[in-house]
Protein backbone atom coordinates (compact mmCIF):
# COMPACT_ATOMS: atom_id res chain seq x y z
CA UNK A 1 0.00 0.00 0.00
CA UNK A 2 1.22 3.41 -0.89
CA UNK A 3 2.14 5.89 1.78
CA UNK A 4 -0.49 8.28 0.46
CA UNK A 5 -3.18 5.77 1.41
CA UNK A 6 -1.79 5.38 4.89
CA UNK A 7 -1.46 9.09 5.47
CA UNK A 8 -4.85 10.00 4.17
CA UNK A 9 -6.58 7.16 6.02
CA UNK A 10 -4.84 8.15 9.21
CA UNK A 11 -5.56 11.83 8.84
CA UNK A 12 -9.14 11.62 7.64
CA UNK A 13 -10.12 8.71 9.86
CA UNK A 14 -8.36 10.34 12.78
CA UNK A 15 -10.03 13.69 12.22
CA UNK A 16 -13.37 11.92 11.91
CA UNK A 17 -12.83 10.02 15.14
CA UNK A 18 -11.68 13.06 17.09
CA UNK A 19 -14.51 15.23 15.79
CA UNK A 20 -17.11 12.60 16.55
CA UNK A 21 -15.69 12.10 20.02
CA UNK A 22 -15.78 15.85 20.60
CA UNK A 23 -19.31 16.12 19.29
CA UNK A 24 -20.47 13.19 21.34
CA UNK A 25 -18.99 14.63 24.50
CA UNK A 26 -20.35 18.06 23.72
CA UNK A 27 -23.79 16.64 23.09
CA UNK A 28 -23.60 14.96 26.52
CA UNK A 29 -22.19 17.92 28.34
CA UNK A 30 -24.32 20.62 26.77
CA UNK A 31 -27.36 18.47 26.53
CA UNK A 32 -30.43 20.63 26.78
CA UNK A 33 -33.67 19.00 27.73
CA UNK A 34 -35.71 19.92 24.72
CA UNK A 35 -39.40 19.47 25.09
CA UNK A 36 -40.26 16.96 22.41
CA UNK A 37 -43.67 18.51 22.15
CA UNK A 38 -42.24 21.68 20.63
CA UNK A 39 -41.25 19.76 17.53
CA UNK A 40 -44.58 18.04 17.40
CA UNK A 41 -46.44 21.32 17.63
CA UNK A 42 -44.21 22.74 14.94
CA UNK A 43 -45.14 19.87 12.68
CA UNK A 44 -48.85 20.59 12.84
CA UNK A 45 -48.42 24.31 12.25
CA UNK A 46 -48.85 25.58 8.68
CA UNK A 47 -45.14 26.45 8.48
CA UNK A 48 -45.72 29.64 6.55
CA UNK A 49 -43.80 31.68 9.15
CA UNK A 50 -46.18 34.53 8.41
CA UNK A 51 -45.93 36.09 11.86
CA UNK A 52 -49.67 36.71 12.17
CA UNK A 53 -49.56 35.07 15.60
CA UNK A 54 -47.20 37.76 16.81
CA UNK A 55 -44.18 35.48 17.11
CA UNK A 56 -41.08 35.41 14.96
CA UNK A 57 -42.15 32.29 13.16
CA UNK A 58 -43.87 28.97 13.50
CA UNK A 59 -41.13 27.48 15.67
CA UNK A 60 -41.11 30.32 18.16
CA UNK A 61 -44.87 30.15 18.31
CA UNK A 62 -44.59 26.44 19.04
CA UNK A 63 -42.17 27.19 21.85
CA UNK A 64 -44.48 29.83 23.28
CA UNK A 65 -47.44 27.46 23.18
CA UNK A 66 -45.52 24.84 25.12
CA UNK A 67 -44.38 27.41 27.65
CA UNK A 68 -47.94 28.55 28.00
CA UNK A 69 -47.24 32.06 26.72
CA UNK A 70 -49.38 31.64 23.65
CA UNK A 71 -52.89 30.40 23.26
CA UNK A 72 -53.55 27.08 21.61
CA UNK A 73 -55.62 28.80 18.98
CA UNK A 74 -53.04 31.54 18.54
CA UNK A 75 -52.30 30.53 14.99
CA UNK A 76 -54.81 32.48 12.93
CA UNK A 77 -53.90 30.75 9.71
CA UNK A 78 -54.32 27.21 10.96
CA UNK A 79 -57.57 28.04 12.69
CA UNK A 80 -59.57 25.45 14.57
CA UNK A 81 -58.04 22.50 12.82
CA UNK A 82 -54.54 23.31 14.02
CA UNK A 83 -55.77 24.33 17.44
CA UNK A 84 -57.35 20.91 17.85
CA UNK A 85 -54.14 19.19 16.86
CA UNK A 86 -52.08 21.27 19.26
CA UNK A 87 -54.59 20.57 21.99
CA UNK A 88 -54.18 16.88 21.30
CA UNK A 89 -50.41 17.16 21.67
CA UNK A 90 -50.70 19.11 24.86
CA UNK A 91 -53.40 16.81 26.15
CA UNK A 92 -55.64 19.78 26.82
CA UNK A 93 -59.27 19.86 25.93
CA UNK A 94 -59.47 22.54 23.37
CA UNK A 95 -61.92 25.17 24.42
CA UNK A 96 -64.46 25.38 21.68
CA UNK A 97 -66.11 28.61 20.65
CA UNK A 98 -62.78 30.29 21.28
CA UNK A 99 -62.44 31.68 17.79
CA UNK A 100 -62.80 35.39 17.61
CA UNK A 101 -63.52 37.70 14.72
CA UNK A 102 -63.04 41.40 14.31
CA UNK A 103 -66.13 43.54 14.89
CA UNK A 104 -66.51 47.20 14.09
CA UNK A 105 -68.19 49.11 16.89
CA UNK A 106 -69.43 51.96 14.76
CA UNK A 107 -71.98 52.20 12.02
CA UNK A 108 -71.69 55.89 11.41
CA UNK A 109 -70.50 56.03 7.88
CA UNK A 110 -70.57 59.03 5.59
CA UNK A 111 -74.36 58.85 5.33
CA UNK A 112 -75.12 58.50 9.02
CA UNK A 113 -72.76 61.06 10.50
CA UNK A 114 -72.16 64.66 9.61
CA UNK A 115 -68.90 65.85 8.24
CA UNK A 116 -67.79 69.04 9.91
CA UNK A 117 -64.47 69.81 8.30
CA UNK A 118 -62.43 69.08 5.26
CA UNK A 119 -59.16 67.24 5.64
CA UNK A 120 -56.07 67.92 3.58
CA UNK A 121 -53.01 65.83 4.21
CA UNK A 122 -51.73 62.32 4.55
CA UNK A 123 -54.59 59.98 3.96
CA UNK A 124 -54.39 57.62 6.89
CA UNK A 125 -56.66 57.30 9.90
CA UNK A 126 -53.67 57.82 12.15
CA UNK A 127 -52.86 61.20 10.64
CA UNK A 128 -56.48 62.29 10.58
CA UNK A 129 -56.98 61.18 14.15
CA UNK A 130 -54.12 63.36 15.31
CA UNK A 131 -56.12 66.47 14.54
CA UNK A 132 -58.80 66.60 17.12
CA UNK A 133 -60.40 63.26 16.50
CA UNK A 134 -61.09 63.45 12.84
CA UNK A 135 -63.29 65.31 10.43
CA UNK A 136 -66.61 63.85 11.45
CA UNK A 137 -68.99 65.38 13.87
CA UNK A 138 -68.63 62.36 16.11
CA UNK A 139 -65.15 62.16 17.48
CA UNK A 140 -65.58 58.47 18.25
CA UNK A 141 -66.61 57.53 14.75
CA UNK A 142 -64.78 55.56 12.14
CA UNK A 143 -62.47 57.92 10.29
CA UNK A 144 -62.87 56.03 7.07
CA UNK A 145 -59.32 56.18 5.72
CA UNK A 146 -58.85 52.45 5.86
CA UNK A 147 -55.85 51.87 8.12
CA UNK A 148 -57.47 48.58 9.10
CA UNK A 149 -57.87 47.59 5.45
CA UNK A 150 -54.17 48.28 4.97
CA UNK A 151 -53.22 46.38 8.12
CA UNK A 152 -55.22 43.24 7.41
CA UNK A 153 -52.86 40.51 6.23
CA UNK A 154 -55.70 38.38 4.94
CA UNK A 155 -57.56 40.86 2.73
CA UNK A 156 -60.56 40.43 4.95
CA UNK A 157 -61.33 44.12 5.25
CA UNK A 158 -62.60 46.33 2.49
CA UNK A 159 -63.74 49.91 2.78
CA UNK A 160 -67.32 50.41 1.63
CA UNK A 161 -68.59 53.37 -0.34
CA UNK A 162 -70.10 54.54 2.90
CA UNK A 163 -66.60 54.93 4.33
CA UNK A 164 -66.83 52.03 6.74
CA UNK A 165 -64.74 48.89 6.75
CA UNK A 166 -66.62 45.73 5.85
CA UNK A 167 -65.15 42.70 7.58
CA UNK A 168 -65.35 39.47 5.65
CA UNK A 169 -66.07 36.90 8.34
CA UNK A 170 -64.88 34.06 6.15
CA UNK A 171 -61.47 35.60 5.64
CA UNK A 172 -61.05 37.14 9.10
CA UNK A 173 -58.76 35.07 11.27
CA UNK A 174 -59.05 37.14 14.40
CA UNK A 175 -55.38 38.08 14.33
CA UNK A 176 -56.08 41.50 15.77
CA UNK A 177 -53.87 43.50 13.42
CA UNK A 178 -56.77 45.79 12.54
CA UNK A 179 -57.54 46.30 16.23
CA UNK A 180 -54.03 47.60 16.71
CA UNK A 181 -54.12 49.68 13.55
CA UNK A 182 -57.32 51.52 14.38
CA UNK A 183 -56.50 54.78 16.16
CA UNK A 184 -60.10 55.20 17.26
CA UNK A 185 -60.12 51.82 19.02
CA UNK A 186 -63.44 50.96 17.50
CA UNK A 187 -62.54 47.51 16.28
CA UNK A 188 -62.63 44.70 18.81
CA UNK A 189 -62.28 40.96 18.72
CA UNK A 190 -65.53 39.29 19.68
CA UNK A 191 -66.37 35.59 19.89
CA UNK A 192 -67.50 34.38 16.51
CA UNK A 193 -70.68 32.81 17.81
CA UNK A 194 -72.01 35.94 19.49
CA UNK A 195 -74.65 37.57 17.37
CA UNK A 196 -75.36 40.84 19.14
CA UNK A 197 -73.06 43.78 18.63
CA UNK A 198 -73.49 47.33 19.79
CA UNK A 199 -72.22 49.25 16.81
CA UNK A 200 -71.32 52.49 18.52
CA UNK A 201 -68.46 53.73 20.61
CA UNK A 202 -69.61 57.21 21.45
CA UNK A 203 -69.56 58.31 25.05
CA UNK A 204 -71.35 61.55 24.23
CA UNK A 205 -74.66 62.18 25.99
CA UNK A 206 -77.76 61.16 24.07
CA UNK A 207 -78.65 64.73 23.14
CA UNK A 208 -75.37 65.23 21.37
CA UNK A 209 -75.38 61.85 19.72
CA UNK A 210 -78.85 62.25 18.30
CA UNK A 211 -77.77 65.45 16.64
CA UNK A 212 -74.60 64.18 15.03
CA UNK A 213 -75.33 60.59 14.13
CA UNK A 214 -78.40 58.73 12.98
CA UNK A 215 -77.33 55.41 14.38
CA UNK A 216 -75.38 56.23 17.52
CA UNK A 217 -76.15 54.98 21.02
CA UNK A 218 -78.13 57.66 22.79
CA UNK A 219 -77.74 56.04 26.16
CA UNK A 220 -81.44 55.35 26.68
CA UNK A 221 -80.67 52.17 28.62
CA UNK A 222 -83.59 50.30 27.05
CA UNK A 223 -81.29 47.46 26.12
CA UNK A 224 -79.94 47.24 29.64
CA UNK A 225 -83.43 46.87 30.99
CA UNK A 226 -84.40 44.40 28.29
CA UNK A 227 -81.48 42.07 28.57
CA UNK A 228 -82.66 39.00 30.46
CA UNK A 229 -79.15 38.06 31.55
CA UNK A 230 -77.73 41.48 32.48
CA UNK A 231 -75.16 41.27 29.73
CA UNK A 232 -75.42 44.94 28.83
CA UNK A 233 -74.20 47.77 30.99
CA UNK A 234 -74.15 51.49 30.56
CA UNK A 235 -70.66 52.84 30.63
CA UNK A 236 -70.44 56.60 30.40
CA UNK A 237 -73.48 57.07 28.13
CA UNK A 238 -72.66 54.02 26.06
CA UNK A 239 -74.19 50.58 26.13
CA UNK A 240 -71.51 47.91 26.33
CA UNK A 241 -72.13 44.24 25.88
CA UNK A 242 -70.49 41.53 27.94
CA UNK A 243 -70.00 38.72 25.47
CA UNK A 244 -69.43 36.18 28.23
CA UNK A 245 -72.97 36.67 29.48
CA UNK A 246 -74.78 37.28 26.20
CA UNK A 247 -77.07 34.47 25.16
CA UNK A 248 -77.82 35.61 21.61
CA UNK A 249 -81.48 36.26 22.25
CA UNK A 250 -81.51 39.44 20.21
CA UNK A 251 -84.00 41.21 22.45
CA UNK A 252 -81.75 44.21 22.92
CA UNK A 253 -81.49 44.72 19.21
CA UNK A 254 -85.24 44.67 18.88
CA UNK A 255 -85.72 47.25 21.56
CA UNK A 256 -82.97 49.62 20.49
CA UNK A 257 -84.68 52.78 19.17
CA UNK A 258 -81.73 53.93 17.05
CA UNK A 259 -80.85 50.61 15.48
CA UNK A 260 -77.43 50.75 17.03
CA UNK A 261 -77.48 47.14 18.15
CA UNK A 262 -77.13 44.59 15.43
CA UNK A 263 -78.48 41.09 15.74
CA UNK A 264 -77.55 38.47 13.20
CA UNK A 265 -79.62 35.57 14.54
CA UNK A 266 -83.26 34.70 14.56
CA UNK A 267 -85.71 36.21 17.02
CA UNK A 268 -87.90 33.84 18.97
CA UNK A 269 -91.66 34.22 18.59
CA UNK A 270 -92.83 31.82 21.20
CA UNK A 271 -91.47 29.13 23.49
CA UNK A 272 -93.58 26.25 24.76
CA UNK A 273 -92.83 23.23 26.88
CA UNK A 274 -94.22 19.99 25.48
CA UNK A 275 -95.20 16.90 27.40
CA UNK A 276 -91.84 15.41 26.63
CA UNK A 277 -90.62 17.37 29.63
CA UNK A 278 -89.22 15.11 32.30
CA UNK A 279 -89.31 17.77 34.99
CA UNK A 280 -85.60 18.19 35.62
CA UNK A 281 -86.04 21.88 36.60
CA UNK A 282 -83.00 22.99 34.64
CA UNK A 283 -85.05 25.35 32.53
CA UNK A 284 -86.77 26.84 35.51
CA UNK A 285 -83.45 27.54 37.12
CA UNK A 286 -82.07 29.03 33.97
CA UNK A 287 -84.98 31.34 33.22
CA UNK A 288 -83.88 34.89 33.91
CA UNK A 289 -87.41 36.14 34.47
CA UNK A 290 -88.77 33.23 36.47
CA UNK A 291 -91.39 32.53 33.86
CA UNK A 292 -91.15 28.73 34.19
CA UNK A 293 -92.89 26.92 36.89
CA UNK A 294 -93.17 23.28 37.70
CA UNK A 295 -92.32 20.69 40.24
CA UNK A 296 -89.60 18.15 40.02
CA UNK A 297 -90.38 15.24 37.71
CA UNK A 298 -93.50 16.96 36.46
CA UNK A 299 -94.10 18.71 33.20
CA UNK A 300 -93.22 22.38 33.47
CA UNK A 301 -95.10 25.32 32.10
CA UNK A 302 -94.17 28.69 30.80
CA UNK A 303 -95.99 31.79 31.91
CA UNK A 304 -96.26 33.45 28.51
CA UNK A 305 -96.93 36.84 30.12
CA UNK A 306 -93.64 36.78 31.90
CA UNK A 307 -91.61 35.10 29.13
CA UNK A 308 -89.29 37.36 27.19
CA UNK A 309 -88.50 34.81 24.47
CA UNK A 310 -84.82 34.71 25.25
CA UNK A 311 -84.51 31.00 24.51
CA UNK A 312 -82.21 30.31 27.41
CA UNK A 313 -84.40 27.44 28.58
CA UNK A 314 -84.15 25.88 25.16
CA UNK A 315 -80.40 26.06 25.33
CA UNK A 316 -80.10 24.34 28.68
CA UNK A 317 -82.73 21.66 28.13
CA UNK A 318 -81.20 18.23 27.78
CA UNK A 319 -84.31 16.43 26.59
CA UNK A 320 -84.97 16.46 22.86
CA UNK A 321 -88.27 17.98 21.98
CA UNK A 322 -89.18 19.01 25.51
CA UNK A 323 -89.03 22.69 24.63
CA UNK A 324 -90.20 23.92 21.28
CA UNK A 325 -89.28 27.24 19.85
CA UNK A 326 -90.95 29.08 17.03
CA UNK A 327 -88.96 31.80 15.37
CA UNK A 328 -90.13 35.09 13.93
CA UNK A 329 -89.89 35.63 10.20
Amino acid sequence: MDSIYIYSILSMGGIGAILALGLGLAAKKFHVEVDERIKEVEKVLPGANCGACGYAGCSSFAEAVIKGDAEINGCPVGGNEVAEKIAEILGVQEETNETVKAQLLCSGGIKETKKISEYHGIETCKAVNSINGGTKSCQYACLGYGDCEEACPFDAIEMSDNGLPIIDKEKCTGCGKCVKACPQNIIILAPEDKLNHIRCSSHEPGKVVSKICEVGCIGCSLCVKTCPVDAIKMEDNLAVIDYDKCINCGLCSEKCPTGTIEFNGRLIEKVVITDQCVGCTRCAKACPVNAIEGELKKVHEIDQNKCVQCGLCYDVCKVDGAIEVTYKE
Partner: protein, 302 residues
Protein backbone atom coordinates in the same frame (compact mmCIF):
# COMPACT_ATOMS: atom_id res chain seq x y z
CA UNK B 1 -72.96 70.18 1.15
CA UNK B 2 -72.23 73.55 -0.31
CA UNK B 3 -71.62 75.32 2.95
CA UNK B 4 -67.97 75.96 3.52
CA UNK B 5 -66.21 73.54 5.79
CA UNK B 6 -63.25 74.12 8.00
CA UNK B 7 -60.12 72.76 6.37
CA UNK B 8 -57.96 70.72 8.68
CA UNK B 9 -54.62 69.04 8.01
CA UNK B 10 -52.28 66.92 9.99
CA UNK B 11 -48.55 67.62 10.17
CA UNK B 12 -46.28 68.02 8.31
CA UNK B 13 -48.00 71.21 7.23
CA UNK B 14 -47.14 72.33 3.75
CA UNK B 15 -46.35 75.99 3.96
CA UNK B 16 -46.23 76.95 0.32
CA UNK B 17 -47.49 75.75 -2.96
CA UNK B 18 -44.14 74.68 -4.39
CA UNK B 19 -44.61 71.43 -6.24
CA UNK B 20 -42.28 68.74 -7.47
CA UNK B 21 -42.68 70.22 -10.92
CA UNK B 22 -41.57 73.69 -9.82
CA UNK B 23 -38.46 72.35 -8.13
CA UNK B 24 -37.44 70.05 -10.95
CA UNK B 25 -37.86 72.64 -13.67
CA UNK B 26 -36.10 75.27 -11.57
CA UNK B 27 -33.10 72.99 -11.14
CA UNK B 28 -33.11 72.30 -14.87
CA UNK B 29 -33.21 76.06 -15.42
CA UNK B 30 -30.32 76.54 -12.99
CA UNK B 31 -28.24 74.17 -15.06
CA UNK B 32 -28.67 76.24 -18.21
CA UNK B 33 -25.40 78.19 -17.62
CA UNK B 34 -23.55 74.88 -17.30
CA UNK B 35 -25.11 73.65 -20.53
CA UNK B 36 -24.10 76.88 -22.28
CA UNK B 37 -20.56 76.59 -20.92
CA UNK B 38 -20.35 73.00 -22.10
CA UNK B 39 -21.53 74.03 -25.56
CA UNK B 40 -19.01 76.87 -25.65
CA UNK B 41 -16.04 74.74 -24.68
CA UNK B 42 -16.91 71.45 -26.33
CA UNK B 43 -18.98 72.57 -29.29
CA UNK B 44 -22.41 71.61 -30.51
CA UNK B 45 -21.71 67.97 -29.86
CA UNK B 46 -22.19 68.70 -26.18
CA UNK B 47 -25.75 69.79 -26.88
CA UNK B 48 -26.32 66.63 -28.86
CA UNK B 49 -25.13 64.43 -25.99
CA UNK B 50 -27.37 66.30 -23.57
CA UNK B 51 -30.36 66.02 -25.86
CA UNK B 52 -29.91 62.30 -26.42
CA UNK B 53 -29.49 61.67 -22.72
CA UNK B 54 -32.65 63.58 -21.86
CA UNK B 55 -34.63 61.85 -24.59
CA UNK B 56 -33.43 58.46 -23.31
CA UNK B 57 -34.48 59.30 -19.77
CA UNK B 58 -37.91 60.56 -20.79
CA UNK B 59 -38.66 57.60 -23.05
CA UNK B 60 -37.63 55.13 -20.36
CA UNK B 61 -39.72 56.90 -17.76
CA UNK B 62 -42.69 56.81 -20.11
CA UNK B 63 -42.33 53.11 -20.87
CA UNK B 64 -41.89 52.14 -17.23
CA UNK B 65 -44.86 54.20 -16.09
CA UNK B 66 -46.93 52.66 -18.84
CA UNK B 67 -45.93 49.11 -17.89
CA UNK B 68 -46.55 49.79 -14.23
CA UNK B 69 -49.92 51.30 -15.16
CA UNK B 70 -49.13 54.54 -13.37
CA UNK B 71 -50.08 58.04 -14.25
CA UNK B 72 -47.73 59.39 -16.90
CA UNK B 73 -45.98 62.22 -15.08
CA UNK B 74 -43.19 63.05 -17.50
CA UNK B 75 -43.99 66.75 -17.37
CA UNK B 76 -42.88 66.86 -13.72
CA UNK B 77 -39.37 67.30 -15.10
CA UNK B 78 -37.69 64.72 -12.90
CA UNK B 79 -36.73 62.46 -15.80
CA UNK B 80 -35.53 65.48 -17.78
CA UNK B 81 -33.38 66.52 -14.84
CA UNK B 82 -31.93 63.04 -14.43
CA UNK B 83 -31.07 62.90 -18.12
CA UNK B 84 -29.52 66.35 -18.01
CA UNK B 85 -27.46 65.66 -14.89
CA UNK B 86 -26.23 62.39 -16.33
CA UNK B 87 -25.23 64.09 -19.58
CA UNK B 88 -23.28 66.71 -17.67
CA UNK B 89 -21.15 64.00 -16.07
CA UNK B 90 -20.29 62.34 -19.38
CA UNK B 91 -17.16 63.00 -21.41
CA UNK B 92 -17.90 65.13 -24.48
CA UNK B 93 -16.53 62.54 -26.86
CA UNK B 94 -18.93 59.84 -25.69
CA UNK B 95 -20.84 58.04 -28.45
CA UNK B 96 -24.47 59.07 -28.49
CA UNK B 97 -25.80 55.55 -27.99
CA UNK B 98 -23.77 55.27 -24.79
CA UNK B 99 -25.36 58.41 -23.41
CA UNK B 100 -28.76 57.00 -24.37
CA UNK B 101 -28.05 53.68 -22.67
CA UNK B 102 -26.80 55.48 -19.59
CA UNK B 103 -30.01 57.42 -19.17
CA UNK B 104 -32.08 54.29 -19.80
CA UNK B 105 -30.21 52.57 -16.95
CA UNK B 106 -30.42 55.68 -14.79
CA UNK B 107 -34.21 55.79 -14.99
CA UNK B 108 -34.81 52.05 -15.25
CA UNK B 109 -32.40 50.61 -12.71
CA UNK B 110 -31.81 53.74 -10.69
CA UNK B 111 -35.34 54.93 -10.23
CA UNK B 112 -38.30 52.98 -11.59
CA UNK B 113 -37.41 49.53 -10.26
CA UNK B 114 -37.50 50.99 -6.78
CA UNK B 115 -40.95 52.42 -7.31
CA UNK B 116 -40.38 55.67 -9.13
CA UNK B 117 -39.83 59.22 -8.00
CA UNK B 118 -39.35 59.44 -4.26
CA UNK B 119 -38.58 55.78 -3.68
CA UNK B 120 -35.10 55.46 -5.16
CA UNK B 121 -32.30 55.07 -2.62
CA UNK B 122 -29.61 56.19 -5.05
CA UNK B 123 -29.25 59.25 -7.19
CA UNK B 124 -30.48 57.96 -10.58
CA UNK B 125 -28.08 60.03 -12.67
CA UNK B 126 -25.14 58.66 -10.73
CA UNK B 127 -26.44 55.10 -11.03
CA UNK B 128 -26.47 55.64 -14.78
CA UNK B 129 -22.96 57.04 -14.72
CA UNK B 130 -21.67 54.24 -12.48
CA UNK B 131 -23.15 51.73 -14.90
CA UNK B 132 -21.45 53.38 -17.86
CA UNK B 133 -18.12 53.69 -16.03
CA UNK B 134 -18.14 49.99 -15.25
CA UNK B 135 -19.40 49.02 -18.70
CA UNK B 136 -17.34 51.23 -21.00
CA UNK B 137 -14.28 52.24 -18.99
CA UNK B 138 -12.38 53.36 -22.03
CA UNK B 139 -15.12 55.52 -23.48
CA UNK B 140 -15.80 57.01 -20.08
CA UNK B 141 -12.20 57.98 -19.47
CA UNK B 142 -11.32 59.52 -22.80
CA UNK B 143 -11.33 63.29 -22.60
CA UNK B 144 -11.21 65.59 -25.54
CA UNK B 145 -10.69 69.35 -25.60
CA UNK B 146 -10.35 71.32 -28.83
CA UNK B 147 -10.27 68.10 -30.78
CA UNK B 148 -7.25 66.66 -29.01
CA UNK B 149 -7.16 64.02 -26.35
CA UNK B 150 -6.16 65.42 -23.00
CA UNK B 151 -5.97 64.29 -19.46
CA UNK B 152 -8.34 65.63 -16.84
CA UNK B 153 -7.15 68.12 -14.25
CA UNK B 154 -7.17 65.40 -11.63
CA UNK B 155 -4.90 63.22 -13.73
CA UNK B 156 -2.64 66.21 -14.18
CA UNK B 157 -2.54 66.57 -10.44
CA UNK B 158 -1.67 62.94 -9.90
CA UNK B 159 1.04 63.33 -12.53
CA UNK B 160 2.38 66.34 -10.68
CA UNK B 161 1.74 68.76 -13.54
CA UNK B 162 0.48 72.28 -13.01
CA UNK B 163 -2.63 73.85 -14.39
CA UNK B 164 -4.03 77.33 -14.35
CA UNK B 165 -6.58 77.83 -11.61
CA UNK B 166 -8.37 80.35 -13.83
CA UNK B 167 -8.81 77.80 -16.62
CA UNK B 168 -10.18 75.43 -14.04
CA UNK B 169 -12.61 77.99 -12.75
CA UNK B 170 -14.14 79.03 -16.02
CA UNK B 171 -13.91 75.53 -17.44
CA UNK B 172 -11.35 75.73 -20.24
CA UNK B 173 -10.06 72.29 -19.44
CA UNK B 174 -10.69 68.67 -20.30
CA UNK B 175 -13.33 66.80 -18.38
CA UNK B 176 -16.96 65.88 -18.36
CA UNK B 177 -19.42 68.15 -20.11
CA UNK B 178 -20.81 69.92 -17.11
CA UNK B 179 -18.19 69.52 -14.46
CA UNK B 180 -15.51 71.68 -15.98
CA UNK B 181 -16.97 75.14 -15.60
CA UNK B 182 -17.17 75.85 -11.91
CA UNK B 183 -18.35 79.36 -12.66
CA UNK B 184 -21.44 78.25 -14.57
CA UNK B 185 -22.30 75.63 -11.98
CA UNK B 186 -21.92 78.05 -9.08
CA UNK B 187 -24.18 80.60 -10.79
CA UNK B 188 -26.98 78.05 -10.97
CA UNK B 189 -26.29 76.77 -7.48
CA UNK B 190 -26.47 80.27 -6.03
CA UNK B 191 -29.88 80.72 -7.63
CA UNK B 192 -31.11 77.42 -6.21
CA UNK B 193 -29.86 78.22 -2.71
CA UNK B 194 -31.54 81.62 -2.99
CA UNK B 195 -34.79 79.89 -3.93
CA UNK B 196 -34.29 77.45 -1.06
CA UNK B 197 -34.48 74.40 -3.31
CA UNK B 198 -31.14 73.02 -2.30
CA UNK B 199 -29.81 72.89 1.17
CA UNK B 200 -26.54 74.66 1.85
CA UNK B 201 -25.40 72.26 4.56
CA UNK B 202 -24.56 69.31 2.34
CA UNK B 203 -22.39 71.19 -0.21
CA UNK B 204 -20.72 73.15 2.57
CA UNK B 205 -19.88 70.04 4.55
CA UNK B 206 -18.74 68.18 1.46
CA UNK B 207 -16.52 70.89 0.00
CA UNK B 208 -15.01 71.94 3.31
CA UNK B 209 -14.04 68.41 4.24
CA UNK B 210 -12.38 68.01 0.84
CA UNK B 211 -10.48 71.25 1.50
CA UNK B 212 -9.36 70.12 4.95
CA UNK B 213 -8.24 66.66 3.91
CA UNK B 214 -6.46 67.76 0.76
CA UNK B 215 -4.74 70.54 2.70
CA UNK B 216 -3.65 68.11 5.41
CA UNK B 217 -2.42 65.69 2.78
CA UNK B 218 -0.33 68.44 1.22
CA UNK B 219 -2.35 68.82 -1.96
CA UNK B 220 -3.60 72.13 -3.31
CA UNK B 221 -7.13 72.51 -1.94
CA UNK B 222 -8.20 75.05 -4.56
CA UNK B 223 -7.47 72.78 -7.48
CA UNK B 224 -9.29 70.02 -5.67
CA UNK B 225 -12.41 72.12 -5.34
CA UNK B 226 -12.60 73.21 -8.95
CA UNK B 227 -11.25 70.10 -10.60
CA UNK B 228 -13.45 67.15 -11.40
CA UNK B 229 -17.04 66.79 -10.43
CA UNK B 230 -16.95 68.13 -6.89
CA UNK B 231 -18.98 71.26 -7.61
CA UNK B 232 -21.67 69.59 -9.66
CA UNK B 233 -21.73 66.64 -7.28
CA UNK B 234 -21.91 68.69 -4.11
CA UNK B 235 -24.52 71.17 -5.31
CA UNK B 236 -26.70 69.20 -7.69
CA UNK B 237 -26.37 65.52 -6.84
CA UNK B 238 -25.65 65.18 -3.14
CA UNK B 239 -28.53 67.57 -2.52
CA UNK B 240 -31.08 65.52 -4.43
CA UNK B 241 -34.16 65.70 -2.23
CA UNK B 242 -35.03 62.05 -2.56
CA UNK B 243 -31.64 60.60 -1.75
CA UNK B 244 -30.30 62.98 0.87
CA UNK B 245 -31.19 63.20 4.57
CA UNK B 246 -33.85 65.53 5.90
CA UNK B 247 -32.60 66.51 9.33
CA UNK B 248 -30.00 69.22 9.81
CA UNK B 249 -27.51 67.11 11.72
CA UNK B 250 -27.85 64.25 9.25
CA UNK B 251 -27.21 66.67 6.38
CA UNK B 252 -23.96 67.77 7.97
CA UNK B 253 -22.86 64.18 8.50
CA UNK B 254 -23.90 63.30 4.96
CA UNK B 255 -21.99 66.20 3.42
CA UNK B 256 -18.85 65.76 5.48
CA UNK B 257 -18.87 62.00 4.95
CA UNK B 258 -19.20 62.43 1.19
CA UNK B 259 -16.37 64.97 1.19
CA UNK B 260 -14.13 62.64 3.18
CA UNK B 261 -14.77 59.83 0.74
CA UNK B 262 -14.07 62.09 -2.23
CA UNK B 263 -10.74 63.15 -0.75
CA UNK B 264 -9.77 59.62 0.21
CA UNK B 265 -10.61 58.18 -3.19
CA UNK B 266 -8.86 61.01 -5.03
CA UNK B 267 -5.72 61.04 -2.93
CA UNK B 268 -5.21 57.40 -2.10
CA UNK B 269 -7.74 55.41 -4.11
CA UNK B 270 -7.58 53.66 -7.44
CA UNK B 271 -9.71 56.20 -9.29
CA UNK B 272 -8.67 59.77 -10.04
CA UNK B 273 -12.23 60.94 -9.31
CA UNK B 274 -14.33 59.86 -6.36
CA UNK B 275 -17.36 62.15 -6.36
CA UNK B 276 -19.67 59.65 -7.98
CA UNK B 277 -18.88 56.75 -5.66
CA UNK B 278 -18.74 58.90 -2.55
CA UNK B 279 -22.25 60.21 -3.14
CA UNK B 280 -23.59 56.77 -4.02
CA UNK B 281 -21.99 55.35 -0.88
CA UNK B 282 -23.39 58.09 1.32
CA UNK B 283 -26.82 57.55 -0.28
CA UNK B 284 -26.86 54.14 1.37
CA UNK B 285 -26.46 55.70 4.81
CA UNK B 286 -29.35 58.13 4.47
CA UNK B 287 -32.08 56.07 6.17
CA UNK B 288 -29.74 55.35 9.05
CA UNK B 289 -28.65 58.96 9.41
CA UNK B 290 -32.22 60.19 9.38
CA UNK B 291 -33.17 57.65 11.98
CA UNK B 292 -30.42 58.34 14.49
CA UNK B 293 -29.96 62.05 13.99
CA UNK B 294 -33.51 63.11 14.59
CA UNK B 295 -33.99 66.47 16.23
CA UNK B 296 -35.20 66.19 19.82
CA UNK B 297 -38.94 66.15 20.12
CA UNK B 298 -40.15 68.84 22.45
CA UNK B 299 -42.73 68.14 25.07
CA UNK B 300 -42.35 64.39 25.07
CA UNK B 301 -41.36 62.49 28.15
CA UNK B 302 -38.05 60.70 27.87
Amino acid sequence: MNNKQLIVTSNPHIKDSTSVEDIMWTVVFALVPAVLAATYFFGLRALLVIAVSIIGAVITEYIFLKIRKKEIVIDDGSAVLTGLLLALTLPPSIPLWTAFLGSVVAIGLGKQVFGGLGYNPFNPALVGRAFLTASYPVLMTTWVLDGTSTATPLSYISNGELIEIWDLFIGNIGGSLGETSALALLLGAAYLIYKGYINWRIPTGMISSVIVISFLAGANPITHIFAGGLIIGAFYMATDMVTSPVTKKARWVFGIGAGLLVAIIRLWGGYPEGVMYSILLMNTTVPLLDRYLKPKTLGVAE
